[in-house]
């Protein structure tokens, strides 16, 4: 589904990714771990298509096509979703209006008709329930005054509504207490299927107890320096990132 080969990327002239190789197949969950500043968030931002991040070398293929020249919304239409570490507050736009616009613009981008209002409403109710979201919450301004947990839950709610093929969860566990973490992880797990894939970006192993990965990759100084199964996450938790730094 996602095929990254020797990917180099820079922002404001500064090289951050220095030769990433990553292959994600449908049905798989990949975790990307690494110390602060290793390039984890940059990788997710480059895949999602931020225009300030420039791919300088290598290839970025999604379902076999090069997406490096596509805008973020065009990538979203193909089925790429990025859950933000710090979701943006947008006063004046309600959660409901936002999600309606996102769904219908995505459908338009896919050459589909708008979703009928009653279907939309039913889906909103169903997905809100899945994430224990109160309906009152849906008429609040997007992320404005939301707690850390509410923001992350809202990200996963959008994920559930948009049903992307590839979901990248950037530090979804940060700022969550254990109960919120369970709700969010449970929401993500319900959405797992043989047709879609998930990349979990995290600093800590904690989230991976709930969203169990098939593969774990360790990122250091813009490169994947070690890959393995879920046991690698436990090893990292035990030995710390210094172990990786020394090994390289």
């Amino acid at each position: 589904m996602l095929s990254i080969d020797n990917l180099h990327a820079q922002v404001e002239g500064k090289g951050i990714l220095k030769g990433i190789n990553l292959d994600v197949k449908p049905g798989e969950v990949h975790a990307i771990m690494g110390p602060n500043g290793s390039g984890k968030s940059t990788l997710s931002t480059v895949i999602a298509g931020h225009e300030d991040y420039e791919v300088t070398d290598g290839t970025l293929l999604f379902q076999g096509s090069d997406i490096s020249d596509l805008s973020a919304d065009e990538r979203a239409h193909l089925g790429v979703f990025l859950s933000f570490q710090y979701p943006v507050e947008i006063p004046g736009v309600t959660v409901t209006n936002f999600i309606k616009t996102a769904i219908n613009e995505t459908r338009k981008g896919q050459g589909l008709e708008e979703m009928p209002a009653n279907v939309m409403l039913k889906k909103i109710k169903e997905k809100a329930k899945l994430l224990s979201i109160d309906t009152q919450f849906l008429s609040r301004s997007l992320n404005e005054g939301f707690s850390g947990g509410e923001k992350k839950r809202n990200e996963i709610f959008q994920l559930a509504m948009l049903e992307p093929k590839l979901a990248i969860l950037d530090e979804t566990d940060s700022g969550l207490d254990i109960d919120a973490l369970r709700v969010v992880a449970n929401g993500v797990n319900t959405l797992r299927s043989k047709d879609n894939a998930i990349i979990v970006i995290t600093h800590y192993q904690r989230l991976l107890d709930y969203i169990v990965p098939d593969f774990v990759h360790v990122l250091h100084e813009g490169k994947i320096v070690k890959s393995g199964g879920k046991e690698l996450a436990h090893e990292l938790e035990e030995k710390g990132y210094d172990w990786i730094k020394q090994a390289t």
Partner: protein, 438 residues
């Protein structure tokens, strides 16, 4: 002959052929004298520093429209709110159109200025109010006072709550090349009267139109006037709008100004407090592009204790558009416990757009609460990216953020049809169809 000389000469020619009340004739002749002495404002004057008039006052305008063109309902349909029942006072090329209007004298007067000026039964009202709220030293106002003979006359008696909004609409058809219009409105809301008014100036052709409108509003004890200015005129049209509001105890005057169209717009919006416990509200959304210029000059004169003023203006400037916001608040020594709030937020969508914003507070009382703030910024790039990752294309994402930015000004609009119309105009201006109303 330049425009100033032409106007003065035209005034002389006009006075011989019209009959005014002697009191009004006196006011007019003094006004033309003021205009003759002062001429049009120049950029050297502090109040006009960022608002060049050069092009506007160098055009040769037709001062007395020769004839009006007949308009059909289809011609005017897009500009009149029709999804709500309203009274309508409609003018075409400066001449009243009975066909397009719906006025009334039942229990109140919703009619014409020309009628009020000429009929003896209105003499007392006219003598009491006409030109008593204005700043007689203002050149544009003086010019209008000299010429203004037509417009809306609205008198709502004590305790009358007008159920239907009143629309005041001026059309120009291009039948007169480079037309200059000087409408004059007088609105009197007696004790505890309530009325909603919508004002619009609309050119239907590509010829230049310069409208210099003056509106005087009097809100008596406990009265409520809710006024909407929809400024979405043709790109060859220019507008100088001077609105003077005189308020009595417990009255609430609310003015919303939506500036989307026209090449040039100058709004002078003045509130004068004559007693205690008054509320004044002024809100605005300016959304312009190209070479458009929109200038908001507001003045709130707090002269008595325990009153409030609330102003909130949002501006979005694209292309090479220019914006001016000058918000003056005067709090006299007597006006203790005044609560004055002023906020002006602007977004520049392009490198060539300009905004000049200036709060001007003159406070002589010591126990007051005056808060003011202005911001100038761009759309948040991170927010744009966030929306795009959700499948919303950049153009729509920008529009959504612009809507969100302007949204809280729309929250205080009390006529749903006006809110819907403004939403639609914003969407059209931004070139999107977002499929929902904020």
């Amino acid at each position: 002959m330049d425009l100033q000389e032409k106007l003065v000469a035209s005034y002389m020619a006009q006075t011989s052929s019209t009959e005014d009340l002697s009191a009004i004739a006196k006011i007019r002749s003094s006004a033309i004298e003021t205009f003759e002495q002062q001429g049009f404002p120049t950029k050297k004057m502090e109040e006009w520093k960022y608002t060049p008039l050069n092009k506007l006052v160098k055009t040769d305008y037709t001062v007395f429209p020769k004839k009006a063109k007949n308009l059909t309902l289809d011609d005017v349909q897009p500009y009149i709110l029709h999804d709500v029942d309203t009274y309508k006072i409609v003018f075409v090329d400066g001449v009243y159109s009975a066909f397009l209007s719906e006025t009334t004298h039942e229990g109140m007067d919703v009619c014409l200025m020309s009628a009020a000026l000429s009929q003896t039964k209105y003499r007392k009202v006219i003598e009491t109010y006409f030109d008593t709220a204005t700043d007689s030293k203002d050149s544009f106002t003086a010019l209008n006072t000299a010429f203004g003979r037509e417009g809306a006359f609205i008198h709502i008696p004590k305790k009358k709550v007008v159920e239907k909004p009143i629309q005041i609409i001026h059309f120009s058809t291009g039948v007169n090349q480079n037309l200059m219009l000087q409408p004059r409105n007088l609105i009197v809301a007696d004790q505890q009267a309530e009325v909603q008014i919508i004002e619009r100036h609309q050119s239907l052709s590509d010829t230049e139109v310069f409208t210099n409108v003056v509106t005087e509003i009097f809100t008596h004890k406990g009265a409520q006037v809710d006024y909407y200015k929809i400024q979405n005129d043709h790109e060859e049209a220019s507008l100088v709008d001077s609105t003077y509001i005189v308020q009595q105890k417990h009255s609430h005057a609310k003015v919303h100004t939506f500036s989307f169209g026209s090449r040039f717009v100058r709004n002078n919006l003045h509130f004068y407090h004559k007693d205690e416990a008054i509320q004044s509200t002024m809100k605005g959304i300016t959304l312009v592009e190209g070479k458009q210029l929109v200038d908001h000059h507001t003045l709130v004169h707090h002269a008595h204790p325990n009153s409030e003023s609330h102003q909130e203006y949002k501006g979005i400037y694209d292309g090479q558009a220019t914006g001016v916001f000058n918000g003056k608040i005067v709090v006299e020594q007597e006006a203790q416990k005044t609560n004055a709030f002023q906020q002006n937020n602007n977004i520049l969508m392009s490198d060539k757009a300009t905004i000049n914003t200036k709060p001007q507070l003159e406070i002589f009382a010591d126990d007051v609460r005056c808060t003011h703030g202005c911001t100038i910024g761009q759309l948040d790039e991170t927010a744009l990216f966030y929306l795009q990752t959700r499948g919303i294309p950049q153009k729509e994402a920008r529009a959504l953020l612009t809507y969100a930015f302007a949204n809280n000004v729309l929250a205080s609009v009390t006529i749903p049809a006006v809110k819907m119309r403004i939403n639609a105009l914003i969407a059209k201006k931004l070139g999107v169809n977002l499929g929902f109303n904020l």
